[in-house]
Amino acid sequence: MPRDIAVEKLDDFRWLIPKTGKMRTQGLVYTDETMLATIKKDASLEQVANVACLPGIVGRSMAMPDIHWGYGFPIGGVAAFDMENGIVSPGGVGYDINCGVRLLCSRLDAGDIKDHIPGLVNALFRNIPCGVGSRRKDLKLSARQMNDVLVKGAKWTVSCGYGSAKDLDHIEEGGCIMGANPEHVSERALNRGKNQLGTLGSGNHFVEVGFVEEIYDETVAEALSLHKGQVTVIVHTGSRGLGHQVCDDYIKLMLKASGKYKIDLPDRQLCCAPLSSKESSQYLAAMACAANFAFCNRQLIAYWVQETIQDVLQMGPGELGLSLVYDVCHNMAKIETHEVDGRQKQLCVHRKGATRAFPPQSPFIPQDYKEVGQPVLIPGDMGRYSYVLVGTDTAMKETFGSTCHGAGRLLSRHQAKKVAKGRAIVRELEDKGIYVRSAGKGTLAEEIPEAYKDVSSVVNVVHNAGIGKKVARLKPLGVIKG
């Protein structure tokens, strides 16, 4: 049973975890009364409190409304650390470094593709490697190319002809995290990653073709080139085995480092090193490599999506008009400047299952979105809907410019399988107008819509709390899963 953690209601969407025991700061959870009851059932609040015990934490240890029990940090966790006294923790980034989401929009309307969905989904399933062990036979990387992937990120992908240079403006950090140094990436990580570039992976990763079902803010939607009825594509994947191995390698190193620097850990998975240490610089350089691999991965998959749609619908790139709205990261530690007690301060912001949500006028968002803020993409479960939001000034002030990242699991995979037992999930979804193909036998059962919180309740909390602003809701038509 999870330890009982006291919470105090601040308002309808904010709950405080008072400072107790070894906590260096308070915890703050964005949620509502109903979801809080569910959150209390697992150990995620304890994890928020544990993160608050880490050295050099600035502001509060925070959790977004999609919080659920992770390992070490909760999923949905946000924590910032001082560059001088603070730490970086590979467990606070997670195994799937730069797992993220990109949204593409098109010139087509839902009506144009309704009859082609099964053909389109089957073709996507053939062309985009998904599930354990699958790969594109036509993509083989030399050691030198792999080096370029890790250093240059999506810039490399674009220079090879996959997509256009203007895509880069619409990717967080321009699709390339600076400071990447492959010397700090192990041979094992390279081995695990070398056959996995351009693959979706398994679990909750997906490619989804859908359409804009609802617009909440016309002005912002127009700035993002979104309108009602328009066909969209979402790609959700990350850094695959390369990222997992980088995390694994550095957790081992950080376990030693935590001892060396005498950091008291409430959970070993939180192992970390001072940001001023050699171990931290090495991790951040390796993490940047994995993040760049993930940017390349999504760029490649998006390119094959475009090829596939053009092929199935027999149309040219101009007619299809598939363009990148934005690409965001969900699992990252980033060095950013934020205002703390009236002064600009450099911090290492950990977002573990959380999205950066920078406000209008931020110098770190694309010029064409300057007036509206950074797009935030929140995928839901495969049977309901996903959301597009934009970042806000409140997020910048309260959460180091962060907001939620998804629906958040409600049922464990085991429970989900029990609920799905004996049901024809594919048919149930087809009856709702959603055509699904999945590589893994268990994946569909584990990923049934009921396994997740209703993403609309998650999004409503961040919208009402002001740490994100609703722009549009997207509905799936066809999905491929790993």
């Binding site: 070490g72 799937d96 354990v132 679990g203 998975q269 464990s412 893994g440």
Partner: protein, 149 residues
């Protein structure tokens, strides 16, 4: 997969799965460290695929070092996962030849994944240190491991 109900039977099962919202955990048991580590490896591969569908055709010698039994458990399982990730090796036989608190050598057997015969249940990203333990209770060894899916 084995169910939680086996927890109450007189003879502990080789392993059982435990609930974790986002990921998956298991507890494995053994009358010796050798059996404990072998049973934990079975539990890991049973997450990926039905062990019954694996034929022991390929053999590998695995050697890992780590400070203490619990870190050794993570290193051992991570090594097996690495063999699957890089070579596509599905494993079902694990013979621990030598084990000390900081060292393990084993012979492992299995075969390369064949999509025609092996239905992969789910991918495993990594073996975590979260809530990890290896301990001995009344002559019975027990471990708890949570994997990231």
């Amino acid at each position: 997969m084995k169910s939680l109900q086996e927890e109450h039977s007189a003879v502990p099962p080789k392993y059982e799965y435990i609930e974790h919202t986002a990921d998956l955990g298991f507890r494995a048991y053994g009358t010796s460290p050798e059996l404990l580590f072998a049973n934990a490896a079975e539990a890991l591969f049973e997450v990926l695929v039905s062990l019954e569908t694996i034929r022991p055709k390929e053999e590998r010698i695995v050697e890992v070092e780590a400070p203490g039994f619990d870190a050794l458990m993570v290193s051992w399982l991570s090594e097996l996962l690495y063999l699957f990730d890089t070579e596509g090796l599905l494993l079902n036989l694990f013979e621990i030849k030598r084990i000390e608190e900081d060292y393990l050598r084993a012979t492992v057997c299995g075969e390369f994944m064949d999509p025609a015969r092996h239905e992969i249940r789910t991918g495993i990203k990594a073996v975590t240190y979260h809530k990890l333990y290896v301990r001995k209770n009344d002559g019975m060894w027990e471990t708890q491991v949570i994997v990231d899916l």
